[in-house]
Symmetry: C2
Subunit: 199 residues, 2 copies
């Protein structure tokens, strides 16, 4: 499927038909998410994968009753990870074991350290949350490319999600992405005209 | 090109060869960006398109001298638009003229109004900036799908960009995406293992 076709046919699915996506396909999707870009390659995200129906039922009230949560096959809970110190350390180790040139490693780690040192906790969280939307974008486009559907969702209670899913600190649930096979039809796509967004 | 191939072959190009991308192709890319998803379809972004070489030279010092800015064919400056009141009004009008059902329109506008009413100015900006990364993701994947390269960049001085490009208030330059044909080679992709991000 061409990328244009993915972009134009993908839509926020409001109801799934309950069929399970094969685990192999979910694995392929997670690879597309894992290889999303992020600034200085910090990858400031973690993903809680929810498949248990009883847990999904528990999460539904914390998602304002939206039935994507219970009718989906797999639910991805994208959590921002603002622990930059930990991420930088891990990235440095990873670059070492991957055989990245020492010069590149020093430059990347230096840039990341300098950039994040100036940030307030709120800025760190906002920054991690922003980057996470690149991973989310790969999830929604990736789902369509692999033959299933998705729904990016910001309307939920992060505190309740943290409690129910025992999300460890300092992770912050930021966006949901239920996955499955659509049981509804897309509405017409409505977007601002090109002249209104490009200047 | 399959989406998987796009994700795995796309990389942050550090140097472009100076060739111009045909305007028609840039137009196709902007359509892929325009149709990116956003929460409640608010599309809180505007894109300043820069092609003038003299302007790109002016921007280079405000981008810490990075030569993607001057060697690229087209530079997209993604600006967050935190004017939710204006966006909601425009979205309401657009849904009317597009023939969206009155019930849907009322629901969308109601949700958008309620959600944004509770936000502080900082939260509004963070929210708009986060959504913008969905549009940016379509730009970087879209470029590869159309046969050219890109580089998502957050390392620049937004105030200087605002001054040089006369970006109108309340828009905030948030991410850059120079476009062109690569004159460098990708490094090996380094990512945290699946077990470190999925739990």
């Amino acid at each position: 499927m061409e990328f244009k076709e993915i972009v134009m046919s993908r839509y926020a699915t409001k109801k799934f038909d309950g069929r399970k996506i094969p685990e192999e396909k979910v694995g392929e999707l997670l690879e597309l998410v894992r290889f999303a870009p992020s600034a200085i390659n910090l990858q400031p995200w973690k993903i809680k994968l929810v498949t248990d129906q009883a847990v999904k039922e528990q999460l539904k009230p914390a998602t304002w009753g939206q039935e994507q949560i219970t009718s989906c096959s797999h639910l991805l809970v994208f959590c921002a990870d603002p622990d930059f110190e930990g991420l930088i350390k891990k990235l440095g180790q990873l670059m070492k074991t991957s055989g990245a040139p020492e010069e590149t490693r020093k430059m990347v780690i230096g840039m990341a350290t300098e950039m994040t040192a100036k940030m307030s906790p709120e800025q760190k969280l906002c920054w991690a949350q922003s980057q996470l939307f690149l991973a989310l974008g790969n999830a929604v486009n990736g789902a369509k490319s692999l033959g299933f559907d998705s729904c990016p969702m910001g309307g939920f209670d992060p505190k309740e999600y943290t409690r129910i899913l025992k999300i460890p600190s300092p992770l912050v649930p930021t966006m949901l992405c239920p996955l499955g096979y659509a049981a509804d039809k897309p509405l017409q796509k409505v977007r601002f005209a090109k002249g209104e967004i490009v200047f």
